[in-house]
C-alpha cells in the first residue's frame, strides 16, 4: 500500500530551527505535487504551500511565506518543511498531502499521518 510517512513528534524551544519530513513509500512522487497543511490545537486546516518534487517549483501561502521553507529530494521521494526560528504559535500538527496528478490544483489522494510540533517559550 502506497503511503506518505511523516517524521515523528518534535518538542522544541522558541527560536530553535526544525526540519520535518514526508517520505513516500515506493516511487510515489513521480508527477505529483506535495502540499503542507497546518492544524493548530482545536482549530481548522490551513494551507501552507506546495512543491513539485520533479523540479522543486514551490508556491507559498502569503501567511507562511518567509517563515517556512518547503523543499524536496525526489531521489529519495521525500518532501520537507523547515523553520529557521520557531515561535510558540507554530505549535500544531503538520500534514503533508499528495495531489493525484501533475497540477497543483489536482485533488489530494494521499495524506500523511501528521507530525505534531510543540514549541515552548
Amino acid at each position: 500500500e502506497v503511503q506518505l510517512e511523516q517524521s515523528g513528534a518534535e518538542v522544541k524551544q522558541s527560536g530553535e530551527s526544525l526540519k520535518i519530513s514526508c517520505k513516500g513509500t515506493e516511487n510515489i512522487f513521480g508527477s505529483h505535487w506535495v502540499a503542507w497543511v497546518r492544524q493548530r490545537p482545536g482549530e481548522g486546516l490551513e494551507w501552507m504551500g506546495i512543491i513539485y518534487p520533479g523540479d522543486s517549483e514551490t508556491k507559498y501561502s502569503p501567511s507562511f511565506q518567509g517563515h517556512v521553507t518547503i523543499s524536496a529530494d525526489k531521489s529519495i521521494t521525500t518532501a520537507y518543511l523547515q523553520w529557521h526560528s520557531l515561535q510558540a504559535s507554530d505549535t500544531a500538527i503538520y500534514y503533508c498531502a499528495r495531489t493525484s496528478g501533475n497540477s497543483w490544483q489536482d485533488q489530494v489522494d494521499l495524506w500523511g499521518q501528521g507530525t505534531p510540533v510543540t514549541v515552548s517559550s
Binding site: G44, L45, E46, W47, Y60, S61, Q105, Q107, V108, W111
Partner: protein, 109 residues
Amino acid sequence: FILTQPHSVSGTPGETVTISCSRSSGYIASTYVQWYQQRPGAAPTTVIYEDTQRPSGVPDRFSGSIDISSNSASLTISGLRTEDEADYYCQSYDTTLWVFGGGTRLTVL
C-alpha cells in the same frame, strides 16, 4: 476569497444532513471544490473531489454538489451513521493557493 461553513450540524442515525460551503467572491464553478473528513485524532481523508466525485472506498451515501445561484458547494450525507461523526472541510483554489473553509463539526445524536 473565503469559504464559509456552518460551525456545526447534527443529525440522528439514518437521517440526511447537508453541509454548505459559501464562496465570498468569484464564481463557485470557476475552480473545483473538495471535501475532507477528519475524525477525532486522525488525519484528514478526501470524501469528495472535483465538486461531485467520490474516491474509491467512499460510500455513495456521500455526495457533493454546487449551486451557482447561491455561489456555494454542499456535502450531503444520507443514511447517517455514528462513524460519520467528524469535522468536514471544504477546499478550493485561488490564483496561486488553496483555500480551506473553517470546518463543520458533524454530531450524530
